[in-house]
Symmetry: C2
Subunit: 435 residues, 2 copies
């Protein structure tokens, strides 16, 4: 049986997970693929760094260049992460015409076009299934399984840490800070947690999904991104009463108004309890994909962790191995900019329903003042909750609006917060009904 030789950069948690999964299922994979995968060299930071699964010492080296430059190595797996040395490594491998498999969303997000260009120059391929939604084969599904579709809407729960925190807030009634601290203690959140909590990681992944779906590269800085720091327990509770839960969604939506273009954003969003995405809890990820032919689909699984990531990395290795076996190394190129034109619409123009929570003085006429401002902004009110029996001088006031542009909503909100009867910072979140 033909054999392909793998070099791996990174032998920590994920790297040892990949090696372990291959040890376990490499024989089945070979039987399925008709080609044998062999790990021949693995570069690590240090020989004695702790790893959850062992890797035989003779495979290890601390010299990454020895891996990339080894003439035996045909496929390079990059699991180093980040945008520094990992970029150098990936470019070095691609320049030699070697296929690269990576799980590095930050690198793709920051340097995608540079990497694709480097790959194109040598005819090398670059695979990145593990970069979005961990073990869920969402990249393959978008590019191959749903290739006959255009994508009016994609909504992804793409960051496991945020989803874990929001799920626990929802289920336990606990506060954000409390759950975050516990998540850090348990290893579900990093310290500092900013990359996840501020939505940056979700931004990287949403950009990759949007780029693949719409056929033009979506740079990270064009993606309006809000994290989950402002989601408080009180909002979780009111959302719940209204029949919603709050999830951090990566959104890529084709706009059907006169101007067209695509909305790409990462935003905490109220979604109805009855929607399948609402039942995606804990560290799980899911991607809700609406195809113009297939209709609504959902892909669900573990978004991170050494084993789920290993499954995705090895599926890329399998594709790359088939490419090598059959001499078709660009069957599915790393990125196909097939759209003749693509445009990201500024967030100001994006239309949505909104959830609004204000803290108001408990006196007559307050609601009238707020309603007047919204009316002038042409923002319809769908429902209002003003809970009875709230202690103190201030009462929470919750409004659900009809469709409004982000700009109109935030202009109106500014006027509302300037009212002397309003105190504190208002909470405002998108509402998505998946219509």
């Amino acid at each position: 049986m033909q054999q392909v030789n793998i070099g791996m950069l990174g032998g920590g948690t994920v790297g040892s997970g990949v090696y372990h999964a291959w040890k376990h299922n490499g024989r089945v994979m070979a039987a399925r693929l008709g080609v044998k995968i062999r790990f021949c060299k693995i570069a690590v930071k240090s020989f004695d760094e702790p790893r959850p699964y062992p890797i035989p010492a003779p495979l290890l080296t601390t010299d990454w260049q020895a891996v990339v430059n080894d003439p035996q190595v045909q496929i390079v797996i990059e699991l180093v992460g980040g945008t520094g040395i990992a970029r150098t490594m990936v470019l070095a491998a691609l320049r030699q015409g070697k296929t690269v498999v990576t799980a590095n969303k930050a690198l793709l997000s920051a340097c995608g076009p540079e990497l694709f260009a480097a790959a194109a120059r040598t005819g090398a391929n670059l695979y990145y299934e593990a970069s979005v939604c961990g073990g869920i084969p969402i990249i393959k599904c978008l590019r191959e399984g749903l290739v006959a579709n255009q994508f009016p809407a994609i909504y992804g729960i793409v960051n496991g840490t945020c989803n874990y925190i929001l799920s626990r807030m929802q289920q336990e009634g606990a506060d954000f800070a409390e759950v975050l601290a516990d998540a850090q203690k348990q290893g579900y959140a990093e310290t500092p947690p900013d990359l996840d909590i501020e939505g940056k990681d979700a931004q990287h992944k949403t950009g990759i999904l949007a780029s693949l779906a719409h056929g033009f590269w979506v740079p990270a800085d064009r993606i309006h991104t809000e994290g989950i720091r402002n989601v408080s327990q009180i909002d979780m509770r009111f959302a719940n009463k209204l029949g919603y839960t709050i999830k951090l969604l990566g959104i890529a939506k084709r706009l059907s108004d006169r101007k067209g273009g695509v909305q790409v954003s990462v935003q905490p969003t109220l979604i109805p309890h009855s929607h399948v995405l609402a039942s995606v809890n804990g560290v799980f990820n899911a991607c809700f994909v609406r195809g113009d032919v297939v209709g609504d689909t959902l892909f669900y699984g573990r978004g991170a962790g050494k084993d789920a990531t290993a499954s995705a990395v090895l599926s890329d290795v399998a594709d790359a191995a088939l490419d090598l076996k059959l001499g078709t190394h660009l069957r599915v190129p790393p990125f196909n900019a097939h759209a003749r034109s693509g445009r990201i619409r500024p967030i100001a123009e994006i239309i949505s329903r909104y959830y609004l929570r204000l803290s108001a003085v408990d006196q007559p006429g307050v609601l009238a003042k707020i309603a007047a401002i919204l009316a002038r902004a042409k923002i319809g009110i769908a429902s209002v909750i003003q809970p009875e029996g709230h202690p103190g001088n201030f009462v929470p006031l919750i409004l659900m609006t009809h469709d409004a542009s982000h700009a109109a909503m935030h202009r109106a909100l500014l006027q509302i917060t300037r009212l002397p009867v309003i105190t504190g910072k208002p909470a405002v979140f998108r509402v998505e009904n998946f219509e």
Copy 2:
């Protein structure tokens, strides 16, 4: 740009759906694939059969052989259905070395090995993504996206008609017969509905999934199959009280006991409300796949209908077109019997928890008699409900058991129904907790 020529057999609902989707997205597909797909001939039953989308008259013929034998035609799409003429058509195309794309689960189930052998003889390929779970790319996910996994368990809601009926029973409190009649009126169920309701269609699909997952062909007659005729509103209600809903599941489960082997069955099953499969309602399908590396995943979407099926058919056409473009027509062969041995365990040996509903005379000592029979059979009782205030002389008695073999359960049940205090037919269903 290179071009591949398609001949299609069947131009009714699904056929016209495929043609329509291609008209709509063929240009995008070509841009994505770097190869142009062209429909050159479509065989129909009659020129004036009603079709939801129009097909240009010059493409139509009533002579299917003219399509298969057309030297231009490289890929043949079979959408005729059934195991009669469709078999002849598919074999004819494969014998000529033409790639076949089919949505025909009945044919695959009945003649899979014959078709695969015919394909192997000429080196032709056979694709069948649309045969299971409609628009969900589950075949591709199992064979490629999750290729690094073995599959301890797969649970599929694979029949939209059954799921539609069960969902409405659950949501509306309506009876089976009532919902079925309405489903037939609305076109969600066929007349007669037996292929769906008796679980045959689910059996075909479960067999295909199990074969792909476990690497040996699972013939339909080895799949223990129960339909949904015995699911009554009263069971739906009691299940609900216990925290469960009832779904028709296609099951393919690797057994970890000493004897090993695989359970493949189709059975109405109680599943916990909190499980993602419980929120799969209406005509939607979903496949819950547990991979030994990736963990738990779920794939959800429309299981039938002209558009969802078109999406799957065209994704196969895309793969076949890439194969032709690159000269790699057996990159992923139609079926890879990679398991060195495979064994279906008889249903009698399958262990499960059970839900049991009996109708008992309302007198002291009844429960003691039942409990004694179960104790002798070594079947533990997990919980009992005997609802108060039931009119008449008979009371329903609901038992949830611990693990028991199918044989032990049904032996005990036979003894129980022979008790003079028990009347009518008992209801017995599997309970699945996905542990």
